[in-house]
């Protein structure tokens, strides 16, 4: 039972961290401010 729990926790947290890394790549590419404040 304990090993199942550890596997489950490892997989769930691992998948979540993988998604967060993927999201981070999207997020760091966005400008700090919407362009409208930069251009006008």
């Amino acid at each position: 039972m304990k090993i199942v729990l550890r596997w489950t926790v490892s997989v769930v947290i691992g998948l979540f961290v993988g998604a967060i890394i993927h999201y981070s790549l999207y997020r760091i590419g966005l400008p700090l401010q919407p362009f409208i404040y930069m251009s006008f």
Binding site: V9, V11, V12, G14, L15, I21, P34, M38
Partner: protein
């Protein structure tokens, strides 16, 4: 980290860390912090690392799927809440899929590109000018608005049109430009669409433009030029420092764009998280949506509203708008020997314009493009002096002629429009938009026939 070597939770909690310290105050026999010990107890390292990889790869695969379909439902245009004004950046692949959605195989796709003027700022959903254009063109054509505020002549819709052309679609492009003005690649307000398309190999081969691309990449790495605003005697130092910081961040972002979009072309993070932001929840705070920033963008309606006539040209903006009109033609004309105004053909503004008109897009796209130059509202034009009016006419004529010479089909719109036809100094009210559609529809039909898209 294996099961056999992991201590129990009770053991972790009861194990007191050694208190002994050396002469410098360091613990003599340091143990891991509690958080790390719990992590080691609960997590199987190899399983965790493989799961991270799997999670990342699954996101990439979903991103690839999202880049081959449109998330947008009942799409009309990229309104305020689904365009970069509010930190929402539809990817070029999603724009292309949106343009193709529901198109019949033989239909001519009429892509409306560029800026807020063709986007229909000030025109509510039911009165947007492109509805009238679609009626005039009929079922052989499908009008799709890919414009959004701030986009330039060769941004947004122009990139989408080129990508569709590469996919052998029947395409016409309508795009707006200001008198004698085209943006170089490194000055684009919305650079992401072009760079994203280039990284995904969606564009046609064009050696002249590629030379411009290399120049732009080199310019991104140049040190910042001193901003004149920073030397204004009455400038607020704190505000100027903030501006300088934001400008430096923007320069850095542009420098990293080719690399960033190259990575995105393989990993498709922009497609996935943009689709999530539209359908499920948005993850980026921005000041206009405030406490609703996390709402799915599909839940925000198109906010364009008509403005009463009396509120369209506020007196406080009169001088600013008059200067806007005057500035377009100022550098394009000079007084001739006879004292009359004439085009200053040798000016840097015209030579830059001629160069940019030929490298902005490939010849195959240029000959499918209806370039539109618009007049400003007569509310302001009526106050121009005869000299200024003559300068403006010369600027307009020079722009149209040069664009036609570069291979576009270029015309002007708005010369005979009334004050009521304008929403403000440059944007059309619904009545002006309908008149613009009346002007453009016959030209588009003529162009389609020339290109062999339709027989009549």
């Amino acid at each position: 980290m294996s099961q056999s070597t992991s201590p129990s939770l009770a053991a972790i909690e009861t194990a007191a860390p050694p208190a002994a310290v050396d002469s410098a105050g360091h613990r003599a026999n340091p143990t891991s912090p509690a958080g790390e010990r719990i992590f080691q107890h609960l997590i199987i390292g190899n399983v965790f690392l493989i799961s991270v990889l799997v999670g990342f790869l699954v996101c990439c695969i979903i991103g690839w799927v999202e880049s081959h379909q449109t998330p947008f439902k009942r799409f009309l245009r990229f309104h305020h809440w689904i365009n970069p004004q509010t930190q929402f950046y539809p990817t070029v692949s999603q724009m292309i899929e949106t343009a193709k959605l529901d198109a019949q195989p033989d239909q001519v796709l009429v892509i409306i590109g560029s800026d807020s003027i063709l986007f229909g700022s000030g025109q509510p959903v039911r009165q947007i000018w492109t509805n009238h254009l679609q009626e005039l063109l009929g079922p052989k054509y499908k009008v799709v608005v890919m414009a959004y505020p701030g986009a330039a002549f060769a941004d947004s819709g122009a990139v989408v049109a080129e990508a569709l052309l590469k996919q052998n679609e029947k395409v016409l492009l309508v795009s707006h430009l200001f008198i004698g003005h085209l943006n170089p690649l490194d000055k684009a307000a919305h650079p992401h669409v072009f760079w994203e398309a280039r990284a995904r190999h969606l564009l046609l081969d064009d050696p002249d433009r590629e030379a411009e691309v290399q120049k732009a990449i080199a310019s991104f790495s140049e040190p910042a030029k001193k901003d004149d605003a920073a030397h204004k005697p009455n400038a607020d130092p704190e505000q100027e420092a903030k501006k300088a910081l934001a400008a430096a961040a923007e320069r850095g972002r542009r420098r990293e764009m080719p690399l960033g979009f190259g990575l995105d072309a393989a990993l498709r993070f922009n497609d996935l998280w943009t689709a999530v932001g539209y359908r499920n929840f948005f993850t980026v705070w921005e000041p206009l949506s405030k406490d609703k920033f996390y709402w799915a963008r599909k839940d925000f309606p198109d906010p364009e509203r008509p403005t009463p006539l009396e509120a369209r040209n506020p007196p406080r903006l009169y001088d600013e708008h008059m200067n806007l009109i005057r500035q377009w033609s100022m550098a394009l004309t000079r007084r001739g020997a006879d004292g009359r105004w004439e085009e200053d053909s040798a000016s840097r503004s015209w030579t830059d314009f001629e160069h940019l008109s030929r490298v902005a897009m490939p010849a195959e796209v240029r000959k499918r493009t209806l370039a539109v130059v618009t007049y400003e509202s007569p509310f302001y034009r009526r106050d121009l002096t005869p000299d200024e009016t003559q300068q403006q006419q010369l600027g307009l004529q020079g722009t149209v002629r040069r664009m036609n010479e570069a291979g576009y089909d270029c015309l002007t719109v708005g010369a005979d429009f009334s004050i009521e036809d304008y929403f403000d100094v440059i944007h059309f009210a619904p009545s002006g938009g309908a008149k613009m559609a009346d002007t453009l529809a016959p030209e588009l039909k003529k162009l389609a026939k020339q290109l062999g898209y339709v027989s009549e």
